[in-house]
């Protein structure tokens, strides 16, 4: 007997004595909405507040992004080729920006700019999808990741975002920068992923 049949056989035998099986409860999405998300603020304001609460960096203009990159001394980076024409006018000549990501030089890029498919306001979460991310590595390996976000893609809460997972092969929710507390419970940011997670609002 193969493993599939033996496992299914054992499962059926184990459950056979149960006269009644536990039913699947239905539940109202209202119960998982966070208290903070119940106020009457617009989606971007709520998103920005919640993103800051997890040490993320929400920005709402391209010049603000350039200022941040200069402050971080990040002059070499990658940008999604579809986004670059829109951003290029804001970037001075001191920057070197490539539109193909070379995996043999992952540490060459100080920042990566890719598109976010959406955001979740109540948690300050960015939603990345395979279909709209020009390179998984470019959104992950550089110290700074900039996710470009459109206002009308913001979800209010988790249940809304779950409903919109869709058919994409790889959806990633990013809530703040990569972090660990493995060493003595001390919080360190930037373990394998970005140490600085930026959301750039670009309508």
């Amino acid at each position: 007997m193969n493993d599939r049949d033996s496992i299914l056989g054992r499962v059926r035998a184990a459950l056979a004595p149960l006269k009644v099986r536990a039913p699947l409860p239905d539940w109202e999405r209202e119960i998982v909405i966070m208290r903070e998300a119940r106020g009457n603020v617009d989606a971007w304001t709520l998103f920005a507040t919640r993103m800051k609460a997890v040490n993320g960096t929400p920005l709402d203009t391209a010049p603000a992004l350039v200022a941040l990159l200069e402050k971080e001394n990040a002059f070499v980076g990658y940008c999604d080729p579809a986004l670059w024409p829109k951003l290029k006018p804001s970037f001075p000549a001191t920057f070197t920006v490539e539109t193909t990501f070379d995996r043999t030089r992952v540490d060459h890029y100080a920042f990566g700019i890719t598109r976010a498919a959406a955001g979740i306001a109540e948690t300050g979460t960015l939603v990345l999808k395979d279909a709209s991310t020009s390179s998984r590595l470019a959104a992950l390996a550089p110290w700074i990741h900039v996710a470009v976000l459109a206002r009308d893609t913001l979800f209010h809460d988790l249940p809304e975002a779950v409903d919109a997972l869709g058919e994409d092969a790889n959806v990633i929710w990013c809530t703040g920068p990569s972090k660990t507390a493995d060493v003595e419970g001390i919080l360190i940011e930037g373990v394998h992923g970005p140490g600085l997670q930026v959301a750039l609002l670009l309508d």
Partner: protein, 472 residues
């Protein structure tokens, strides 16, 4: 009367190790409570619901398993079944050999700890590297994780800096930031050189065939951005019925595990990478692992299969805090481990039959459990099983109760004993002429004697029944 093994272990635990475990678990618990109850008006209702959903899955696995298989196949995933640890390991090796692959990067998975996958692959010539910082440190130290979520809760930064120095990762420096940066630099090369990524799975959604992974460090993301083949090893009980149930379970998982609203990265994976995506696996495999779970399903403790491995019950448990995870001699420590480990052990149950005794039955584990598992009840059922099967270590540390039974079934004798008990307040315990009593008090401090107080109080009570305070 022999002491319980877990007591012996705790007694020999170095003080700095106990301090690490105690501090780490206590902080984790306190933050969790605050976050969960600050964020939601009715946090307990969420736990109950999540428990009901998972119980439904457990009791309907016969329909959910074929369902998840079909959804995964529809998403382009190759599905494998493994009845035992050996079968699971062999499935991984076979996939790697078929691809001509020799290098694996591994994200944290508890089920691969169960099967000792890393050792098995190394013995078969595969280079297998843990990428979660804690698991990486455990691996280079030849150690074992001592917590489900915080694998190196038992280690301090000095030990870690020493092992980094030993393994050529840099001169001694115990700054946690330096340690983390060094691991970052070392591991990113390894991801890019690897052929295969191995992950576990926090949830598998039956209706959509989605595999859900949560991590904070981004190591599983890197594994799945850099390699061409993805293998996920997942226990057969990890299924959720619908996508919408994720909104409930994800809200509970991170808060219970690390007091975060969400883990930093929540990945929803539905097959190999999209055709337009340059990075990531071209091939995805899911191995559905039994390895003792059907035994648990057959037992009267099947509620433990609801577990989502958050570690909240470890953090709150007074025994875990004193004894540390290694005291449980198995992959799963703490209250969940005291139930799960002996059951997963199958025929070797008698070797772990003492674990259900490692509890004061205070009930804290049940109160914090995000899927509301009645752990204390399950511990009692397993104590009974240990007793019925005559497992010797199950009775270690238990005084013979014959004398007590005589006393407690004869009212006059009991009354006299209650009054005479006062003598215990003045008589040092070591002079009590009952060896079993002395052995028991050897590890415990008795409170002052209050025998007879209840009876006195009872006599002053009125005998008429209380009026009901709430009308219909």
């Amino acid at each position: 009367m022999a002491r319980q093994l877990i007591d012996q272990f705790a007694a020999q635990l170095p003080e700095d190790r106990r301090a690490s475990v105690y501090g780490g678990s206590k902080v984790g618990h306190e933050k969790r409570t605050k976050v969960l109850f600050d964020h939601f008006p009715d946090a307990d209702r969420l736990r109950e619901l999540a428990g009901e959903i998972k119980q439904h899955v457990v009791e309907n696995l016969d329909t959910y398993l074929p369902k998840i298989e079909a959804s995964l196949i529809a998403a382009g995933v190759k599905v494998h079944w493994a009845a035992t640890a050996e079968a699971a390991n062999k499935a991984v090796l076979d996939i790697m050999r078929a691809r001509g692959a020799t290098r694996m990067v591994k994200s944290k998975t508890m089920v691969s700890e169960e099967t000792h996958l890393a050792d098995y692959l190394q013995q078969n010539g595969i280079d297998c590297l843990e990428t979660d910082l804690g698991e990486f440190i455990v691996q280079i130290d030849g150690d074992h994780p001592s917590h489900i979520v915080k694998p190196i809760i038992h280690k301090n930064r000095r030990e870690i800096a020493q092992s980094f120095e030993r393994h050529g990762l840099g001169a001694y420096d115990d700054d946690p930031q330096t340690i983390t940066r060094r691991a970052r630099r070392f591991l990113r090369k390894k991801y890019l050189e690897a052929d295969v990524a191995l992950t576990g799975g926090n949830f598998l959604v039956a209706e959509s065939g989605r595999l859900v992974l949560v991590t904070n460090e981004g190591n599983s993301r890197f594994c799945l951005a850099a390699t061409k083949t993805h293998i996920a090893m997942v226990g057969i009980e990890k299924i959720l019925p619908r996508d919408r149930d994720l909104a409930l379970l994800l809200n509970l998982l991170a808060r219970s595990a690390t007091a975060q609203q969400l883990t930093v990265y929540t990945e929803f994976i539905k097959g190999p990478r999209s055709s337009t995506q340059p990075d990531g696996p071209e091939e995805m495999h899911v191995i559905l692992v039994d390895n003792g779970r059907t035994d648990v399903l057959e037992s009267d403790c099947r509620e433990i299969l609801r577990c989502i491995r958050c570690g909240a019950c470890l953090n709150v448990c007074p025994i875990y805090r004193q004894a540390s995870g290694h005291a449980y001699r198995s992959v799963y420590p703490g209250p969940v481990g005291a139930v799960l480990s002996p059951l997963l052990a199958g025929k070797k149950f008698p070797e772990l039959a003492d674990l259900p005794k490692a509890s004061s039955l205070c009930g804290a584990c049940n109160e914090v459990c995000p899927v509301n598992i009645p752990i204390p009840d399950l511990l009692l059922r397993l104590r009974n099983k240990g007793k019925e099967e005559g497992a010797k270590i199950a009775s270690a540390g238990t005084p013979p109760m014959g004398g007590w039974a005589v006393l407690a079934t004869q009212p006059m004798l009991w009354k006299t004993a209650m009054m005479g008990g006062k003598i215990l307040d003045v008589l040092p315990e070591k002079f009590v002429p009952v060896p079993a009593f002395r052995a028991w008090t050897d590890q415990r401090t008795l409170p002052g004697w209050r025998g007879g107080v209840f009876r006195k109080w009872m006599r002053t009570r009125e005998t008429k029944p209380r009026q009901p305070t709430v009308g219909p």
